[in-house]
């Protein structure tokens, strides 16, 4: 059984509370479009995705605030912390939404409702929950029948009357095609013989058919709580010149790299946070394509984040954080200093790798080209490779 928790009004409700605007329509917008609404704003027929100007035209007294990156994280994390007291596997999927693994729960519906209640109490925000045999169904239930838990045998029937657009894992192209074929309800889709579906969708047909019945094999992944390592430095006198800032950055990065080395871990998310005198603060988080751990790469990543902060004030504090940690127990041996290998040496190297694998297992020894090598070494190695 999979549960789904949604705080659909998180940003707006938080703004309303912080600014003491209870009972007043509040909206949060980004790039001119509405992203989050309080119930009062919804009552004024403002909808998500609507243009701000249109919303104001509909409801001139709506209080609108721009979405601020990082502002709502703390509240959301509070909600997630509540979840982990109830279940062991929590998969956040963006701000205000998370899947919960309810496997083993005797009364999933009760469990869900308790989670919702506790989250509401802890955050003061509207919380909607739903449960089903798969992620697909759980999310739909939280919207269509909040608080309910639909069992596997009822899933297909539950989905039947709904429009095919409710099948959220399908992409727009597929939905358009289904519409063109005259299939507007999931029930109609359920009744199409597989062969007919395959004629139009090929290999995708099987997945479409399964989704129509509420079957979705993707598991809930344990992504919360995240473990992080962070380092911080304060500057009582204020840090204003870029040279010193560069030095401090390097120093902090060294510490992080050292910490990662000791724990034999790599990170796949970095965060840089600055504070300045009047209590202002700003942070940028960046997910990485591949996990990193060496100083070189950390430094270049943090430098890049730094350049995007657009700082104008002297700093009071600088904090660097790495998260999404993964253990690694490899040691990198640089045997050849980047020099090109002769055929005989290559042969001996491969023999050695083979023996290591036989001794210690298939993944125990890996060629250096398959590991992250610092950029400057790759540059040097590539030099003269352009020569035919």
């Amino acid at each position: 059984m999979v549960g789904f928790l949604s705080l659909p009004r998180l940003a707006a409700e938080m703004e309303a509370r912080n600014r003491d605007l209870a009972g007043i329509p509040v909206a949060v917008h980004r790039q001119g479009r509405i992203l989050s609404l309080t119930a009062e704003a919804e009552g004024e027929r403002i909808t998500l995705g609507m243009k701000l100007t249109q919303a104001r035209a509909l409801c001139p007294m709506v209080e609108a605030f721009p979405f601020v990156e990082g502002r709502y994280e703390a509240l959301w994390h509070q909600a997630l912390r509540v979840c982990v007291t109830h279940v062991s596997v929590v998969e956040p999927v963006g701000l205000g939404e998370a899947f919960l693994d309810l496997a083993g729960a005797i009364a999933p519906q009760t469990a869900l409702q308790e989670i919702a209640k506790d989250v509401r109490q802890a955050t003061g925000c509207t919380a909607e929950v739903g449960a089903g045999p798969s992620k697909l169904v759980a999310k739909i239930v939280s919207r269509k029948a909040p608080g309910e838990a639909i069992s596997a045998d009822r899933a297909a029937r539950f989905l039947e009357p709904l429009a095919v657009q409710w099948l959220w894992p399908l992409d727009e192209r597929v939905l358009d095609h289904l519409q063109a074929l005259g299939l507007s309800r999931i029930g109609e889709l359920q009744r199409v013989p597989h062969l007919r579906l395959a004629e139009h969708f090929g290999a995708e047909a099987r997945r479409i058919a399964q989704l129509a019945k509420g079957i979705d094999d993707s598991p809930v992944e344990s992504l919360y709580p995240p473990r992080v390592i962070s380092v911080r430095e304060c500057f009582p006198g204020g840090l204003a010149d870029s040279e010193s800032a560069a030095r401090v950055l390097r120093h902090l990065v060294n510490s992080l790299a050292e910490a990662l080395r000791e724990r034999q871990e790599l990170c796949q998310r970095v965060r840089l946070r600055v504070e300045w005198a009047e209590g202002g603060e700003r942070s940028r988080t960046h997910p990485l394509r591949v996990p990193i751990g060496c100083e070189e790469d950390l430094l270049s990543t943090f430098r890049w984040l730094w350049s995007r902060l657009e700082l104008t004030e002297p700093l009071e504090a600088l904090e660097l954080e790495v998260g999404d940690l993964q253990r690694t127990t490899h040691i990198q041996l640089d045997l050849f200093g980047g020099r090109p290998l002769r055929a005989k040496t290559k042969e001996r190297l491969f023999k050695a790798l083979e023996q290591a694998r036989q001794c210690c297992g298939a993944g125990s020894a890996v060629l250096g080209t398959q590991l992250e090598i610092p950029r400057r070494e790759r540059m040097l190695a590539a030099l003269d490779h352009g020569v035919p």
Binding site: E243, A246, E295, E296, S300, R303, W304, S307, L333, D334, L335, F336, G337, R375, R376, M379
Partner: protein, 81 residues
């Protein structure tokens, strides 16, 4: 076999900028021979400054790769036993 170190060190250079003497692990070592030298522009788009790299044969018979960063810092990048 070589090992990547990348730690700051003290270096006394020649007048042309190449390293003459450096201190590593509390040992002062004279540079016996300059094997190679090159310049790297680095990741200029991230604000990185250029550096000069020197591969030297030191008094203890090992080969060291020393980097001189534009800001003045010297670092020992690599040791080849």
């Amino acid at each position: 076999m070589s090992k990547r170190i990348d730690r700051p060190i003290q270096v006394t250079p020649h007048s042309d900028g190449a390293p003459r003497v450096f201190t590593w692990r509390d040992r002062r070592m004279a540079v016996r021979d300059l094997l190679d030298a090159w310049e790297e522009a680095g990741c200029w788009w991230l604000g990185e400054a250029p550096r000069w790299a020197y591969r030297v044969l030191a008094g203890d018979g090992a080969v060291y790769e020393l980097h001189h960063h534009a800001a003045g810092e010297w670092r020992l990048y690599r040791v080849v036993d």
